[in-house]
Subunit: 260 residues, 2 copies
């Protein structure tokens, strides 16, 4: 398929390269700033970096993927004009398909790769579930084909369900990453090597994949070990924000006991 990207951030960066590697013709990359679109287009054999959305429609791709920050999708959709029948899908977990409905003549859809993307880290798309949705069956079939060309895990998920999933993903990924960052900061300040906790972190997520996490909760909170808890709160006196998080997370663990 002939594909164009709107956006050249983390998601576009990885997804465009994966689609090109799967044999699709990545024809164009649009982004507002010049540097990102040029940098990404350079990595795609057939891609032209384009500076206007109007130029994008002239290229007439089969599929346009909108991979811009969630709060910019509506603005892009209002500016975009496409040849009738063009499939236009966004790649967001949080936004409904309906944010694209202002694009006259387009067949709208969603192409959501359920993964966290940073430019510096390669991603194995064979392990990335791709959740698709579309306005009609032709567009759905095309987006499914596109997804299957890069991942064995393709599912049809509605906007409402995807929204719930995205919320769960924020807890499992974004918030977890923040806790790992706090942990690393505490290690650094104690002059301990940052990799000392790696076996513990890996065991934690391995265990959470095998058992419901609430069932295998360990640590001072679930044991109601008030001495250890107050010792930790004392150690956190110089980090008032982390101290408050510690308190809230401890309360939440204690309130969750027995819940599965």
């Amino acid at each position: 398929m002939k594909i164009a990207f709107i956006g050249a951030g983390n998601v576009a960066w990885h997804l465009a390269q994966a689609l090109a590697a799967a044999g699709h013709k990545l024809a164009a990359v649009y982004s507002r700033s010049a540097a990102p679109r040029e940098e990404l287009a350079k990595l795609l054999p057939a891609a032209k970096p384009v500076a206007s959305l109007a130029e994008l429609s002239v290229i007439a791709p089969d599929v346009i993927l909108i991979a811009v920050p969630d709060d910019a999708i509506t603005a892009v959709a209002q500016l975009l004009q496409v040849p009738s029948g063009t499939i236009v899908a966004h790649t967001s977990g949080s936004q409904p398909m309906s944010v694209l409905e202002s694009i006259a003549g387009a067949c709208t859809g969603v192409f959501y790769p359920l993964q966290t993307f940073s430019k510096a880290k390669t991603v194995d798309f064979k392990k990335v579930p791709v959740l698709v949705e579309a306005q009609d069956s032709r567009a759905l079939q095309k987006l499914e084909q596109l997804a299957q060309s890069i991942s064995p895990q393709v599912q049809h998920v509605s906007s409402e369900t995807r929204r719930q999933l995205h919320l769960a993903a924020v807890f499992a990924c974004n918030f977890t990453n923040h806790l790992l960052g706090i942990s690393r900061e505490l290690l650094q300040n104690a002059h301990l090597p940052p990799d000392l906790l790696q076996p513990l972190i890996h065991e934690t997520v391995d265990k959470a994949a095998l058992f419901p996490p609430f069932d295998v909760q360990t640590g001072p909170a679930v044991r109601h070990d008030e001495n250890v808890i107050s010792g930790h709160l004392h150690l956190l006196a110089q980090y008032p924000r982390y101290q408050e998080l510690y308190r809230q997370l401890t309360d939440s663990i204690q309130a969750t006991k027995g819940k599965v």
Copy 2:
């Protein structure tokens, strides 16, 4: 070495079996309730389940490991009497070595396996750092030997440093596990399969091992995407505790931006 355990919970369960497998003589297991000590002793070829601490001293082990909940260690130490020169170490991350100082004639120490233990899940001790500390060099050497017999990662860490490490571990393990539990609960309530987020969770921790997590933070909080954030808070209206956690974690991510 001839070893006895005080405690038959998660830590004792795994550690005693690993030490027995490494060729040590696990001579006795004490616990207040009969069932756990009998269950564990059954798995150790040479072990006797004992019902009193006095009986334990008669057995005269080289090393007694105290693996009871952190807030019970002091009480055990006050009751324990041992032949002079017996090495007595606890296995706690949070407690200083000094909680054992009431044991007359003992050489005290700490033998802390830095891992999360649940009975249901086997643990590969080759991947468990063991942090040791002791009152004198003979005891330190013995505890180091013991640790090296089950793990290639043995370090000498002071009580004060271990306390900081334990706090970091609570964020990286206990709190992370709780977030994974919340995520699973949200998935279940949306009738989504619990394993759908596994690739995302694994990528999150893999990435956090390669880069400082604050540097690779993704999601609506770090993007200051207020629409998505308020949509998520709205979805969490029925979970006030999770809503508050969402708010706190989002604030903390936003306050941490740029910090490494």
